[in-house]
């Protein structure tokens, strides 16, 4: 999840006049609560009246997963584009080299532990689930570190690590979309979509609507026809929107008239509603459906990733890299654990790769269980007296 899309925006004048209920709703929508609440409702529903739940979930799955989630992925893409453009946090090699190494180490660690567990139990059918073990819940990492280490180098470090990891994960799962048939002709439609987007950019169209409605729809059709995951429809379109560099100081973005930020402000609430339904539609699973895939995913995310991150950073430091200012090894351990929750992205990757069946159920339980990574980070911070627990 894209943290700054979750951020409370600065509407102080209006806020004074808001009721407590409105503030609660605002907090619910903007503080990463929509999806967990959706998952919680789904879990209770699925384990009390499962048939009703699964009929409901199946009826909404396409609308939510294939169409609605395109907006969510679009916002993630916006984050990435702004981070890598000149002035953005990922633009400088010096800034992102260490987080990128850590991301690579984290992916190797999580995938390695996941695959080792799966193959150790001779359930090679689960091997396809390894991208889910790699997924990092950006928002969970953000809010945990914002709470524990609000002003250290850990926050941008983990955010860059998470964005890089999830970008690679998305590239891996996009072609694995389970579809009935490839209809072809998508390339031509995509070229038309990109041509229109390029023309609008050349004509300095600043409203985001034409980009998203016209080009986004065409792109969605193109991907669907080619058997690629249509939730990625906005990925090739977002770079054409006007941008400004992303600073990763996420809660402090000032309001502006930039088209993309306008897009973000307009859609943040809608994306949170979509994420609520995403959790509701995909989070429901019979708890007795746990099996090898569940444990493999938990092991990969909660053990493999932190170990991979620490090993990669250790190797980098031994090779002459320097830890970011204010980030010692204890802080790094907490940061690595904070990145171990896959939750939103693990669920998204799972639904992108796997179809209805017990494998999806096993991995869904594991994906939800990785939320424990946030608790592990807080526990480690308390144990090692890191950040706000130092006093």
């Amino acid at each position: 999840m894209k943290p700054h899309a979750l951020a409370t925006h600065h509407v102080g004048i209006h806020r004074r006049h808001r009721s407590a209920a409105a503030r609660l709703l605002d907090r619910f929508l903007h503080r990463y609560l929509a999806l967990p609440v959706g998952v919680g409702i789904a879990l209770v529903w699925a384990n009390t009246t499962p048939e009703r739940y699964f009929v409901f979930a199946h009826s909404l799955a396409f609308l939510v997963n294939e169409i609605g989630m395109a907006l969510f992925v679009g916002l993630i893409m916006q984050e990435i584009v702004e981070a890598v453009m000149p002035g953005g946090a990922l633009h400088s090699w010096r800034r992102w080299s260490l987080p990128l190494l850590a991301a690579a180490g984290g992916m190797l660690g999580s995938a390695g532990f996941y695959l080792a567990y799966v193959h150790g139990h001779y359930e090679s059918i689960l091997a396809a689930g390894w991208p889910m073990a790699c997924a990092v819940d950006i928002a969970a990492a953000y809010y945990v570190l914002k709470t524990i280490l609000p002003r250290s180098g850990a926050l941008p470090f983990v955010l860059l690590l998470a964005i890089a990891t999830d970008l690679v994960g998305m590239l891996i799962i996009a072609p694995q979309y389970p579809t009935i048939a490839v209809h072809g002709g998508g390339l031509g439609v995509m070229l038309v979509a990109l041509g229109i987007a390029g023309a609008m950019r050349a004509l300095k169209v600043r409203s985001f609507w034409p980009y998203l409605v016209i080009c986004g729809t065409l792109s969605w059709i193109a991907l669907y026809r080619e058997g690629l995951h249509p939730a990625f429809a906005l990925v090739p379109i977002v770079p054409f929107l006007p941008h400004e560099p992303r600073r990763l100081d996420l809660l402090a973005d000032p309001p502006d008239d930039d088209a993309v930020h306008h897009f973000e402000h307009e859609w943040n609430t809608l994306v949170q509603v979509i994420l609520f339904f995403f959790g509701l539609v995909n989070g429901g699973v019979l708890l007795r459906g746990y099996d090898t895939g569940t444990w493999a995913l938990l092991l990969g995310a909660l053990v493999g990733r932190p170990l991979g991150i620490l090993t990669a950073v250790g190797a980098a430091v031994a090779a002459g890299w320097h830890l970011p200012r204010g980030l010692g090894w204890r802080q790094l351990l907490v940061a690595a654990l904070a990145s171990s929750s896959g939750f939103t992205f693990a669920l998204f990757f799972a639904t992108g790769v796997l179809s209805t069946g017990p494998l999806l159920a096993q991995l869904t339980i594991g994906a939800v269980g990785t939320a424990a990574g946030s608790l592990l980070a807080i526990g480690a911070a308390r144990l090692f007296r890191v950040g706000r627990f130092a006093r």
Binding site: F54, P178, R288, P358, L359
Partner: protein, 294 residues
């Protein structure tokens, strides 16, 4: 007066036996009829452990074949547990069922969660390299599904294959039961909401599944007869929690099934590792006209 009551009661019972609901329900039978032109097959699931109970079941199957000459075995998945190297195919499949294989019995496998997907290329499993496929024996069409992942392509294939079938009997086999009273796994409801509408729409008669390491026969659900036979090698003793859906069950020892399809009747027996008959019955399918009206 008493004689009138007896006559009325007898007439009532006779009428009840002819109603579709009763015809469809299984009733106990003493022995399989072993008719000359019938289709005879065995069913076993979750068998590929390579341990003694699997070998015992294999011996019982071979013994049963001396009086009930089946030529087909349906394997309901988890055909191989643990390592699946070439030597394992010998220890976990070829040796336990050597007598059957030598007699020319053909095995048809479905993939379970413990099976390597590449096992579909293993010739004695007769899967033709496919995760899901269909085949015909006499007037029975079998549909073999891979329920590890019920992807949209497989669903579309299943829909089309059912639509094309004009066979007298339609029998589905897949690993994960959509109805089961076993405690460990139980009914897979997420699969049920996808599969059941198709099974009902096209009048599938019988579904065999494994995954839960017990034997269970469910009461017909929406006109379809469900069996769980997942103790061909594995066993989860005492795992069944009987409910209103349970027609019969056996969870004290490994077991397999013998089935005979003759005309509009399907006779079945569940046999334990020691050779005891633990369940039996006959299912009478509705005539073709009634099937289409489902």
């Amino acid at each position: 007066m008493r004689r009138v009551a007896v006559v009325l009661l007898t007439a009532l019972l006779a009428t009840a036996r002819l109603t579709p609901a009763v015809q469809n329900a299984a009733r106990a039978v003493e022995t399989l009829p072993t008719r000359q032109d019938s289709l005879k097959f065995a069913v076993l699931g979750d068998n590929g452990t390579g341990e003694q109970p699997e070998y015992d079941v294999g011996q019982q199957m071979a013994a049963a074949r001396t009086t009930f000459p089946f030529d087909t075995v349906l394997m309901l998945g988890d055909n191989m547990y643990g390592r699946q190297d070439p030597q394992d195919f010998v220890v976990k499949f070829e040796r336990p069922y050597a007598a059957l294989l030598q007699a020319g019995v053909r095995f048809y496998a479905t993939l379970g969660n413990h099976d390597d997907q590449n096992n579909r290329f293993y010739k004695p499993f007769n899967m033709g390299g496919e995760r899901y496929f269909t085949f015909v024996k006499k007037d029975v069409r079998f549909f073999v599904l891979d329920t590890n992942q019920l992807d949209p392509k497989q669903q579309a294939w299943f829909d089309e294959a059912l639509q094309r079938s004009d066979d007298r009997w339609r029998i589905c086999i897949f690993h994960h039961p959509i109805y089961s009273d076993a405690a460990r796994h139980g009914s897979d409801v997420s699969l049920r909401v996808v599969l059941e509408p198709l099974l009902v729409k096209y009048g599938v008669d019988v579904v065999f599944s494994g995954h839960d390491h017990v034997y269970e026969r469910l009461k017909p659900q929406k006109g379809i007869n469900y069996f769980v036979s997942g103790s061909g090698g594995q066993l989860r003793k005492g795992d069944v929690r009987p409910s209103g859906l349970t027609a019969a069950y056996y969870d004290q020892d490994q077991s397999f099934m013998l089935v005979e399809v003759a005309g509009n009747e399907m006779f079945f027996e569940a046999v334990s590792r020691s050779g005891a008959k633990v369940d039996s019955g006959v299912i009478r399918r509705e005539p073709a006209g009634a099937r289409n009206s489902r």
